[in-house]
Structure formats: structure tokens, C-alpha cells
Amino acid sequence: MAGNGEVLEGFICPICMTDFKAPNHLTKHFEEVHNDDPEILKSLKDLFGKAKKKILKQDDIPETFQSSVPQDKRRSPEINWGPQEIGAITTHTKYFKDIRNARLERYAYETNKLLIRLDKLLNNLPSDPVDRKVHERAIVPWIDEKDVKLCPNCAKSFHLARRKHHCRLCGAVMCHNCTVFLSLGDARKMTSPVSIQDDSALSSTSERALSERIVRAGIGLTKLARSPSNGSLNSVLSLVNDPASGEQHFRVCTHCINLLDAREMQKAKQFAKPIVCEFYEKMRGYMSEASQHLAMYNKMWESLQEGETTYDVEDAQSLRVKLAKLGENIDATSKRILILGAKKDVQDPQEIQSQELRLYQMVRTSAMIFLKEELLTLQPLSSVEEYVALREERQNRIEARIAYERQLEEDQREKSKEQRKRDTWNLDNSPSMKVNQAPTVVTQSQGWGPSNVTSIMSSSMDPIIEQMSNLRAYIKQARADCKYDEVATLESNLRELQSAYFAMKQSNSNDG
């Protein structure tokens, strides 16, 4: 076949005679280039359709198919694009703090100034009212009251009933309603450093008492600070207060007390920790412990179920009991937190109802979820006998495999010479050399190390026996700490050691 009569094979366009790789390429080409002739296209497609049905049984479906058949993806969950990279993040913390610090420094400066003055005022404070005034004015220069026509805080004019008063800390003139009294006791507390307060309190009472005291002090202060707003009540109070115990107070303007107050709050915040926090921390502690043990337990359970001998059934059982106990503890603590809310509820039904109670309820709910999701789904352990059966099964399986592998090796072994056999015999003796190194490796595993075990044995004893007794002590410790992985490795080491020791003894007796 030569010249013009050349036979073309493949997917060839009947109009322009181009060769195509696949039928769908050809149809596409047809649609794009020669779509003016639907008749040919139709016949072409029919042809392909029939041919495909017969030959390919539709195993490669062209793309156009899929777009027209949208429901061809049964059981296809969401597209998995793999873990998404975490998106961009911009941090403004530094900028924020720079601005804040610049501003706060000014406050801090003022507050410190006030504290120093307060300290000076308290030092050698004369009890006589006249002397005291002199003392006060010597430390803080008072503004001339003639210059002040209106109270700078409330902008009300002064008269007989609204008299002028000087703030003992800044010297400014205010009306009575815009000033408060700072008791000497509170003032002393403010000026004494936190650490001293801390020490003295710790020596006498418990920590909680201290924190309560400070909280009370804080509350007292805030009440003091707020009182000017409800004027009428305050004026009544002042009548009671003023003449009787005038010496025990400093008159201070609201501006100054706010500054001091803020500082006190800061101080108090370090100590103020309601009881809930204690309970809560305890609960979190239990939870993290539980989740640690849980991971271990699941590992053990799987291994046991496989019939492996790495872990002990009894160990797993004791861990299970421990987990159950932790679960009970979590349950009990969260219940106590809930009761805490209920108790307060009785005292002050309206206020607590809102956030605090809800908080306690949610803590309880989360504890319940934790218990439900984590601890209630614990896989049950089968009895010891079942595990023995499982283990035997596995043993059988392994033996079968070993036997099979041996069979394979048999051929090779037959070819090998006697010298090689001697080599293997030599190898059998080698474990006694390994033994001495093994324990040192073990003790470093995974960040857990037994605390020093005082060697009970005298050094004169056989080093292997000493090693073994050490190992036993380690195992005991590891078990107490729930480090069952270590227990397993240690035990296998111990077994190795024992067998080596036994072998050595035997060879010794053979020699002797």
C-alpha cells in the first residue's frame, strides 16, 4: 500500500484528516471546528457511542459526561484540600502597650507622689487638731481658698452650708460632697509595702484570711469612693462622723482617692481568688491526669487485645481503677462547684443568678462532657483467662510464622557449612556481655528516671544480682508512677538478665 492509497488508522477527522489520540479529542475537535454540520457530528457520536458501549463498556468516560451528570459521586464527602495553612495574623500588642504605658506612667507618677505624701503625713502625726493642721500644711501646700469661688469638681458655689475643704493630699479646695475620708488605718495599709503586709499576715493567720481582709478593705474603699455621689446620705453620715472621729481620718478629694483606689485594686487582684478557683484548678488537675492515663490505658488495651505480652493485665486493671477514681473526683469537684453557685443563690438570688451561676453550671456541663466522651467510653478489659487465650493464639500465630520462615531458611542452612554453625553457637553465649549495658540505657527513657535507689546490696555481691535488684526497685517505682511503658521495658530487661544469669551459672557449674 503506497502513494495515495495510504490507509490511515486511528481517530481521524473525516473532514480535515487530522489524527487524534482519543475519541473524546476527536469529538471535541469536531464540536469546535466543524460544528456547522450537525448531521455528521451526530452520526459520529452515535458511532462512538455504540462502539464504546461494545468495546470499552464505558470505562473511560469523557469529561463532558461528568459535567452533565452531576450526581455521579456517591459517598463523596467534602473535598479534602489537606490541612489549611493558618491565615495571616497581625499583632498590635506592642503598639497597644507602648501607648498604654506612656499614659499609665503619668498616672503612676501621680499615684506615687500621693503615696509619698501620705507616708509623710502619717509620720509623726500630732494628735492635737491644731498641730495636725500645721503638720499637714507643712507637707502639702494648700491652695488659697480665696481664689476658689466654685467647687472645681461639682461647680457649685460655696456658702454657709457648703463649706470649703482642703484635700490633704493635693491641697486643692473642694466642697464636702466632693471629698471623702480616708481612715488612718487604711492609709497605713496603703503606704506599707505589699511584701511586709504579706509577711505579717502569714505569720499570724492563714492566707485566705489575708486575702479576705484585703478584699474587705478594697470593698470598704470603693464604698468610700462612691459615697459622694449619693449626697444626702453622705451628709447625714458626715454629721455623725465629723465631730466624733475627725482625727482618725484624712479628708481627701475624690480625684486622689480614685488614684489610690485603683492602686489598691491592682494590689488586691493578686490575692483575690475565690474558692471556685481552687476547686476548679483541682478539677483541671484531675482532668489532665486522667487524659494522660487514658492515652496509656488505650495503648495497653490495644496491645493486650492483640495478645502481646508487653503489658500486664493487672497493671491495666489497676490503671482502670485509678481512672475510675479520677472520674469520681472530677464528678465530685464539679458538683461542689455547682453547689457553690446554689448556696450563693440562696443568699442573693438576683445577682448571682446571672453570670456566676451560669459559669458554675457550664463548668459542671463541661466536666460531664469530659466524663462522657473520655471516661465512659473506656474499653472494658476481659478477664485474665481470656487474655491467656489471646496470648496463646498469638503465640500460635507467631510460631506458625516462625515455622514457616524456618522452612524457608532450611534450604539455605543445609547449604551452609559447619563453621557457620559454630559461629551461631558462639553467638548464643554473647548475651552475658550485653546484659551489663542494658540497664543504663533503660533509665534514660522518655524523660522518666527512677529517683535514686539506695543500693541495699553490698558491693561484694555478684554485679548481676545487684543489677537485678536495682531493676526490681525501678519497676516498683515506675508502677507507682503509672509509667507502664517503662515497666514493660524494665521487665523485659529483668527477664533477659535473669536468663543470662541462669545461663552463666549453668556454664559455671559445667566448668567446675
Partner: protein, 541 residues
Amino acid sequence: MKILLMDKQTTSIVSLLYSQSEILMKEVYLFERIDTAVHNDTLKHLTCIVFVRPTKENIDLLCKELKYPKYGVYYIYFSNIIAKADIKLLAESDEREVVREVHEYYADYLAINPHLFSLGINACSEGLTWDPVHLHRTVQGITSVLLSLKKCPYIRYQNSSNMAKRLAEKIREVLSKESSSFEFRQESNPILLIVDRRDDPVTPLLNQWTYQAMVHELLTINNNRVNLSHVKGISKELKEVVLSAEHDDFYANNLYLNFGEIGQTIKELMEEFQKKAKKHQKVESIADMKHFVETYPLFKKLSGTVSKHVTVVGELSSLVEKHNLLEVSELEQELSCQTDHSSQLQKIKALINNQKVRDIDTVRLVMLYALHYEKYANNDINGLVELLKKRNVSDKYIKLVYNILEYSGVNARQSNLFDREAVAKITKKLFKGLSGVDNIYTQHCPLISETLEDLIKGKLNTQIFPYLGNMIMSKRPQDVIVFMIGGATYEESLAVYNLNKQNPGIKIVLGGTTIHNFKSFAEEVHHATSGILMRYKIGKN
């Protein structure tokens, strides 16, 4: 112990992604709204995590909160770019030094599926132009999407749409203003394609038959939640069900299956459940009891899933039955894909006279008819409207027939929606005969999938979809973000999903100002066409 302080929008953003119990496990026990919290009690032992949008109101509220802090420590996270001046305001309010950290974590959008996001804006335009508030929100939403995906894309937009052009320009403005934030490695040639709903008004008019789309069309999904309280005799815990692909395997596996297949899988689910339930029934020995207690949580979870989906699917099928939806849908598909004026007109008339068919379905049909035969010489739009009036369909809906022509008549459209189908028809029919599985209820294929196919192949017309600026990308895009002004639909989400499946190595993410069903789309059209001079007069008979 922590508390999460959010605003209205971030609440929905977070609730779409995390279940309450998941958040609880992170030691967050309280959830408060920043705009409603009026509590006097202080809980100083709580750590407060603030996650809000950087709006003016939120900044003000936050300033107030920081001046008189209720909680011990604050960590502040904004869902979008915040102005330096606002940070300064906050810093000056923080006199008690309670703030520990301030960050921007970009998540200013509703992530519905891995490839689908929405901004939750209903009716974004007025008088066929942007409502400035919504435009601002849209720009913010898209920039946060770009930042969270770490993309600085080329922008292409639909030339015929002014809204698309304005949005594209606004986005470029932000990109150049915040250029330091957008310095990502660009290997995948990302592209942002902005299209306008007005170019494809047909898709949101159709009844849907895939699970997710159908639930949204008939029952309305709102932030993964479906309200079932109108269903008769519904139990208390099923009044509002949560459909979240993240937390519900059954839903995740069946999102895109069609209604018939759902029936099948739900049957399988039931059978599985019954098998388990039967196992539980014979609790005789102590061992059985123990086993029961141990597997109970799983059992409970399964039973919850079963009852939820059985209820939803049951409700769907009763609606389908009650309102002749199969028949309606068949005609809808015909109207959208085939041209046969007289017989289609007859069928529409018959369905309008059928009292079982819902009003909105008749309106849908007339709207589709009007869109399809707007320029057809003998069209009978007014006659059909008269029929609707006779049926006592509400005026608002009747007006919608003319509104849609205004919104997206032939003059407004760039691509010829119906002729496009005509060209493809021959091949389609051919293949239909061949495969025999094509579903008459899912013939329609949204315009967006064609546009995207062209884009992937690098064949998208640069006249119709020009690049913003002078740059032109020569390589084929691998990362595509499509944004649809005026709202996307779940049908389009499915189309994008299929494109993603068919083109491994290409990532397409679809977004919209909202996710439409017919009702919300009707609102959109109503709003968009309010306040413009109507070219199409009602009752010009």
C-alpha cells in the same frame, strides 16, 4: 476559666465552625455579647477573650468595658483590619492594665463549606447600585478572605456590571493600602473573579434536589440551623436542628446527593440504627447492662442523628408531595433549558390553576417564563400575570415578575442564558440517550460553571471579564476565588464542588454576599429594583 465576648456577627461566624461543647473543652464557659451585656457583677478570676469586628460601635463598647473591667485579664482579637487610631483609643482606655494581647485574626466571613463562604448580607443593592454600607462590608469580607487564605490575587470583574467594577476597585484600593499585609509568596497565580448575580437570574429561581440546597430552598438554613418549629407534632429538641458537616458525618456524606439517593441512605441509616437498637433491647444479664452503659453515649449520638435526618427528610418529602414540586420542578427545568413556547405556556397555565401548587412556585414559573420569552414576539407575560392576580397571589410577588425583568432582563445580561442552552442541547440530548441516567430535575447547569471552566482553561474572554489595571496573567490560574455580588446559591456551590473534584490541583472558592433561596432572592430583587424607573409597566395590556 474563660469567657468569650463577641458581637452579633462574630457570634454567627464562630457558631458556624464550633459546637458549644467543643468550645467548652477549651475552658471557655461563658459566652456574652458585647452589645447586650449589662452585668454589674464582676468576675475577676475569669480571662476574657474578645472576638469582635472592628466597627465603631464595638470599639466604643470595648473602651467602656476596659475602663471598668469586669474580668481579670483581656485578650482582644479583631476579625479584620483595625485602624491605628482605634487601637490608640483602646490603649488609652486601658487604665487598669488588663489587656494582655491585641491581634487581628482575619475571619470576617461565614465559612459554610470548605469551598463556600458568605457575608450574610441580604439585599446588597438598592436602585441597582451598591448600598454604601454593604459595599464597605463586602470589601472587608473579601479582604479578610484573602488574608486568611494568604492570597494577593489578580482581579477580574464582569465588565457589564458597575457594581462588580466598583467592588473590584475598592478591593484594589485596600490591597495597595495594606500592601505590607499582603506580601505572600504567589506560586499558584491566584485570581479573584467578581461576577454579578444579575447575569444569571435563573439559578436562584429553580427548585433544588440535592440535600443541602433542598433543605435551604424549602426550610431555609440559617447559620447551619434549620427551624422546624412549624412542623406539626414536632418534639421539643427537634424544633431547631443543627446541620453541620463538621460535626455530622451523615450530613457531610450526603450534602450533595440528590433526593432519591438521600431516601436510600436514610433507609440504610435507619437499618443500622435498628440493628443497634435491637441489640440494646435485650438487656438481661449484668454483662448486657454493663455493655449497654458502655456503648450508651455512642448509641445516644446515633439516635440523635437518625431522628434529626429522618425528621428533615420526612418534612422535605411531605412538602414535595403536598405542593406538586416534582411537576413544578420539571417545568422549571424545561423553561430554563429548552425552548418550546406554546406547550410550556400551556403547562404554566395548568399549574397556576392547580390549587395544590404554592403561590411562590407559580410566581417562579412566570418569572422564568418572562426571562426566557421576554423578546419573543407572541409572549403572554401579561396574560400569565392576570392569571396570578386571579389566584390572589400577593401584589408583592406579582410585581416581582416585572422586577426581575428590570433586574436582569435581556438588556442587563451579558451572556445569552437561554441560547447557550440551545447550542449545547444537541450534544446534551445525545449524551442523555447514551448514559440514560441524566435526571430531568437537574438538567440546569448554572452559568458560573461555564465561566469557571473557561477561566481554568485560560480561555475566558478578556473583553467580558477584564483584568483590573494593566496586568494580564499569562499562566493558567490554580487558585480561584469567585465572588458573586447579589448572592450565590447552593446549586452553584455544588457546581464549584464538582469543578474542584474534576480538576485536581485547582482550588476554587465560591463566595457571595449571601446564600440565596427563592425567598431571599425575591427580597434581593425587590430591594435592588426599588426606587428606579420601571421600564416594564404593570398592566400595560
